[in-house]
Symmetry: C2
Subunit: 258 residues, 2 copies
């Protein structure tokens, strides 16, 4: 084997999309086809790896990320080592690399070694899973914006942004926020928004997808009834009333009130 | 020709992505391959239409949308008529169908006729064009959220959401806001945020892409120097300082100040 001959190191961050292996872009597929090494996350659908060439080295870095506190450092070093040794490294991440994917930190590290970088965006679950469920993030006369917020801040508190979002008409999407659901409900109720439509989507775009739709006041019962768990996204906003099961729900509530 | 035999009407809204024809999803391509009729917008890259089967009827509804105030009604009627007459209609829209794409209104209209609907999400320019430029929408310790706001409200004013966004640490992305750039700059300056990094991206992901990076106080000069125009997206937030040309700019400013 010839060592390091004509090696052109490069790292490309690629968004794999929200779960369905067909929700990756053509550009993403082409990068994967050309990759010498792939480092992939827990949330990446394994079927996507079938696009790789036969000589591609595929390395799973998901479990490690959950176990070790130094995992991000370890992944950073792997990317650089593999790029210098083998050439084109594709860092394949669930959703989009820059939507809470720590893609920015990875680029900062790689650039220290003067290794060229590229980014191929992916369908963020915030946009994609709502879309598949036919919940419009924006709607003329109802919502002029959408605000995507992490439910999992580095120090474990609820993001300050949520305390501001509750006072706006923006459609709010909380990613990685399932464990904070009760806190989020309490926040919206304290601000008089108990009747706001809300939805949760678990395992979105996969055969195991589960959805709960209701209002801030009623959603916990729906979540329990439909046995939702992690990973799930939370959508808060009047646009959720456009979901096809919301009308049925509204009729049930009205019947109860008669 | 056999008329209306075994016609199964269906309308699928498909996001074509931000411009580059490779930034559509595999799922979107498959829907296009199966379409009997395609209605496509001005911002859709024509190369994507090459995926259609030879019998597919392709109808451009972009220009009309700019000319006639009744255009949305007209497009709605076309979708329903074609679905009932020919079967599977794909409504192909730039970016994502629900990010200021009026996809929600179209679904509401189609459902009145009991025609099945589906949505295939696309790469929104808000996520995709920032990603390609390696501007991370979120970054640990810098930004816990991003907020996507229209610059073009139905009554021509600046969105109320922008007046709230200026008081947050969210990364703010304004779509269709180029004509409001001076108003947005003034708003941020009035709130003491003249030094906030800002970027504009025109014709993102295409060979004609142009980018301007600066601070709120300096961006107008950069926009003029780089001859930016519509369509452009605006990104405001500390994460813009991660763009590769921002450091060069910062050095230039420091040299001027010495």
């Amino acid at each position: 084997m010839q060592q390091n001959k004509h090696i052109e190191p490069k790292v490309t961050l690629v968004g794999a999309g929200p779960g369905d292996p067909d929700l990756i872009t053509l550009k993403g597929i082409k990068a994967i086809q050309g990759a010498d090494v792939i480092l992939y996350d827990a949330l990446v659908n394994k079927e996507i790896l079938e696009h790789t060439k036969s000589t591609c080295t595929k390395i799973y870095v998901g479990k490690r990320a959950e176990r070790l506190s130094t995992s991000q450092d370890y992944i950073n070093k792997l990317m650089v080592d593999y790029a210098l040794t083998y050439g084109h490294v594709v860092r394949l991440k669930g959703g989009d690399p820059f939507v809470f994917g720590r893609g920015g930190e990875e680029l900062d590290y790689i650039r220290q070694f003067d290794i060229p970088t590229a980014v191929i965006p992916g369908i963020s679950s915030s946009v994609g899973l709502t879309g598949l469920q036919q919940i419009p993030l924006t709607y003329r006369g109802i919502s002029e914006s959408f605000w995507v917020i992490t439910g999992s801040t580095s120090d474990g508190r609820l993001s300050d942004d949520l305390y501001k979002a509750v006072h706006t008409n923006a459609t709010v999407v909380v990613l990685m926020g399932y464990s904070k659901l009760q806190q989020i409900i309490a926040l919206y109720q304290e601000n008089g928004r108990g009747e706001l439509p809300i939805a949760l989507i678990q395992n979105g775009s996969l055969p195991t997808e589960r959805v709960a739709v209701g209002t801030v006041d009623t959603i916990l019962a729906e979540v329990h009834k439909n046995l939702l768990g992690v990973p799930a996204i939370i959508i808060l906003g009047e646009v959720v009333s456009k979901h096809q099961s919301f009308n049925r729900l509204r009729n049930e509530i009205q019947l109860l009130e008669i």
